[in-house]
């Protein structure tokens, strides 16, 4: 859609933003010392050390296991949810639609902290269960909880992509199946879901990545020594050596990338094979909803149960913690209600600045990020192969690296890439890190909107002599403006929920709530403050959601 020179320029910039940090990690992984050390030499020693370390293999294996498990849970649940929402007469859909996204819009570290208060060994739901059954039928610190909660938390990813795909497909085949007597279940599994395989595969991939790089949950809930994950192993590496052992950390990151990259290729291959069979594309007629009949309320109950476990339980825990001085089985909560944590937050300039920065990064930064995603999206729009293909792979790479490490790599970029150094202590550094981390997500939002624009409109404009810029300005942008608005809101919420990528970039001027949550939960700071900050963070996300609802923005991938 741009001239090829412009397009190359855009691609190179986008590629650089992605490749600089990732390239640094690769480079660092084959050096004997931190890359800035004078003694650094090319060496495979980091890999040898890691591979010979007996702690590495179980951690790797467990991380793969948790990624598979998370995907195995999130995929079916998310797909079922998408089917129920897009294709059936499930009750209260309009209200449910935005609520379903809440678990991915909430920083997982906040959810994890909430689970401790709500459902930990002395949590208030646990106490209730103990009185009811005489024991607590769950343990949030067990590996099983990591699987289940990790899986449940990532359901919205699958839901987002699959629901969007379903909504773009006509329902005629499904109706045909219904008419010939297939049950709703059979329609879903034999007709609808096979048609949206690309969305399933893609979202499954994202969930798998999220599983491998899972950080917030194991940080707080992963105290079990029998089940260590790679992200925790990274912690240990830094602890074992006093001098920063960046080469080892980088080597582990490279291993993670090498495990996940083949999956991206696999995904492409699956989709290529698939495409030959998918005969229905574009838009077809009206969509009719399948009537669930007596199953309506059961389906609703299941959806609500998921939402309660994944969102209501932990959030009620963190909200409660924010408003009490202390808690526990010996405490009558009514005696210890307080607003001091919030007063404390608002009396502390650093924290107020963090709140303001978080809003600015979300609102202004979100808009700028959407602008970038749009420009890149337009550059690859209707392009096949070559650059577009490379970029497709590239945007996913940052998702395969734990967020903390991406943040560290960006610290290096801002320290050692001369033109960028003055920007390190400005919100720009955080913005760039966030924009790269959420690139895949953002590009998907934009390309989804762009695909809604019929090629014939662009072609006719070109035929009557409009310049490329004119086509974009007068045809494409007006048509996708609604989609851009939706993208802006979603990116706003994504940026508010990001907590790991900014930790290493934290300095005066770049404080954001997410990074402070990590720092506070690591050090000696009181949990009340952490909880109050979390609640403020949730409130920001809630405001975004409320605006989205008000404008009737369809929140879909």
């Amino acid at each position: 859609m741009f001239s090829s020179a412009t397009r190359s320029g855009i691609m190179i910039l986008a590629g650089l933003a992605m490749l600089l940090p990732i390239g640094l990690i690769f480079y660092q992984s084959i050096l004997s010392e931190p890359f800035f050390s004078k003694e650094a030499q090319l060496s495979l020693a980091p890999f040898i050390y890691v591979f010979e370390d007996p702690d590495f293999w179980p951690a790797l294996w467990n991380s793969i296991l948790i990624a598979v498990g998370t995907t195995a849970i999130a995929l079916p649940v998310g797909a079922a949810l998408a089917f129920l929402m897009a294709r059936t007469d499930l009750p209260f859909k309009r209200i449910l639609e935005p609520l379903l996204l809440l678990p991915i819009l909430t920083p997982s570290i906040v959810l994890a902290l909430g689970y401790v208060v709500a459902a930990g060994p002395v949590g208030f739901y646990s106490e209730f269960a103990r009185r009811l059954f005489g024991f607590i039928p769950w343990s949030i610190y067990s590996p099983v909880s990591l699987f289940v909660l990790g899986g449940f938390m990532h359901v919205p990813f699958v839901y987002l992509y699959v629901a969007a795909a379903l909504k773009n497909l006509g329902s005629d085949l499904e109706e045909a199946a219904r008419i010939t007597g297939a049950s709703p279940w059979r329609v879903a599994t034999a007709v609808s879901l096979p048609m949206v395989t690309p969305a399933l595969v893609y979202s499954g991939l994202l969930v798998f990545f999220a599983g491998v790089t899972m950080f917030g949950l194991p940080l707080i809930l992963g105290s079990s020594n029998d089940f260590e994950l790679l992200t925790v192993y990274l912690y240990k590496l830094t602890n074992r050596f006093s001098y920063p052992s960046y080469q080892l950390i980088a080597a582990v990151a490279v291993v993670i990338i090498f495990i996940t990259m083949p999956l991206i290729f696999l995904q492409r291959t699956v989709l290529k094979v698939r495409q030959k069979f998918v005969t229905i594309g574009g838009k077809s007629g009206r969509q009719r909803l399948i009537e669930l009949g007596k199953w309506r309320w059961l389906a609703l109950a299941i959806v609500l149960a998921w939402l309660i476990v994944t969102f209501i339980v932990p959030v009620s825990g963190i909200v409660l913690r924010a408003f009490v001085v202390r808690w526990g089985p010996t405490v009558n909560l009514l005696d210890v209600l307080t607003l001091e944590h919030f007063r404390g937050v608002f009396a502390e300039p650093t924290l107020v600045r963090a709140i303001v920065n978080s809003i600015v990064i979300g609102v202004v930064g979100g808009a700028l990020a959407v602008a970038c995603y749009t420009i890149v999206g337009l550059a690859v729009h209707r392009q096949q192969g070559g650059w577009a293909r490379v970029l497709d792979y590239l945007v996913l790479v940052p998702n395969a690296v734990p967020g903390l490490l991406i943040g560290l790599a960006f610290l290096w970029v801002f320290l050692f890439v001369a033109p960028l150094t003055p920007l390190r202590s400005t919100p720009f550094s955080i913005w760039l890190a966030y924009t790269v981390v959420w690139f895949a997500y953002g590009m998907r939002l934009i390309s989804g909107a762009l695909l809604q624009v019929g090629a014939e409109l662009e072609e006719s404009a070109r035929t009557v002599g409009a310049s490329r810029g004119r086509v974009i300005r007068d045809i494409v942008l007006p048509l996708i403006s609604y989609g851009l608005l939706a993208a802006w809101l979603l990116i706003f919420m994504a940026f508010e929920s990001e907590y790991s990528a900014g930790v290493y970039l934290l300095s005066v001027g770049t404080e954001v709530i997410g990074s402070l949550l990590v720092v506070f939960s690591d050090g000696g700071g009181g949990r009340g403050t952490v909880a109050a900050l979390s609640v403020i963070n949730l409130a920001l996300i809630g405001v975004g959601l409320a605006i989205a609802l008000r404008w009737g923005v369809k929140i879909r991938g």
Partner: protein, 363 residues
Amino acid sequence: MKSTIFALSACLALTTPAWADQPDYYPSDYGKMVEAAKAEGRVVLYITLDPYAVTPFVSEFEAMYPGIKVEVNSMSSAPMHSRFISEEAAKGATADIMISSGMDLQVQLVNDGHALAYESAELSHIPKWASWNNQAYSVTIDPVIFVYNKGFLTPEQVPQSYAQIPEVLAKNADTYRGRIALGDVDRGGVPLLFGIMGSVTDPNYWDIFGAVGKLKPNFIPGSSAVIESVSSGENILSLNQMGAYVLPVIEKNPDVAMVLPSDYTLGNSRVMFIAKSTPHPNASKLFVDFMLSKRGQTVLMNGSKMYPIREDIEGPYTAKSLMATLGTAFRPIPLSPELLANLDPKRRTEFIERWKRTLTGKN
């Protein structure tokens, strides 16, 4: 009280030249340094304390020296160490002042030549153990203590010393099983430092922790998580926590209490040094003197709830009170290059392995 001091000092600052506030034993040309510091205008602080604890002494300093702004960066000890080294290597902007409870990491940085030597004007007024080579200073000292929840334990169920642990725990095994929280030496530099120092100090260290290991302790990274878990009753006892992190919790939860182990109580310093690369040497020196001064240390005690190191400060939570209570059982971890031995990866790995074997009964 704090606001009165604040207002008072603000008034003083307005009416008299700032150096007039200085104690009489400061060098006569100290005023020149103050002027030079004001010309520099700011000092950048990296510190392992959350903003609440930092604000009181920073406001006090800024009130004392109007025109010098302190930029505070709160972070945890390992990222702070990584960041400082990276920034130094890139010759980028970094801290002027580093204050961290990761004593060994700080000593390493000083030993590697990252510190600016400065003989503090307060040197003769702080304990000998609180300074090293005019490069590193101890600002506060935390007793390494036991913390427990009174709601679940009677007084005789609480060990009062390390030596008592095996017996008391064995007697109350059912009470304690699965409800002891320990900082994870495998995931945190500070728990590892306490572990190694404990094993050096106490010949029975491994037997004592072996007794703890029999009761399925929980390993939790992060002090705030450990202390919160004891406060809520999820766990009822934790060993080797920093006193200053427990004090504010005791204030809010009368069920939480601490024990200063009577056989030995380690003292962990927050170590401060000036970065050699500092573009604000005068403001940094001023800040160091302030932190060690009676005025600064008093605010540390009253405002930040930290244990000051100066012996001329009266209060229940000071280095002096610890000495008075514990006598020779109080063992400040020496601020010296001896700590570097702790940083040897082999030594660390060996300790971690043995610790895991001892506490989990597994390899």
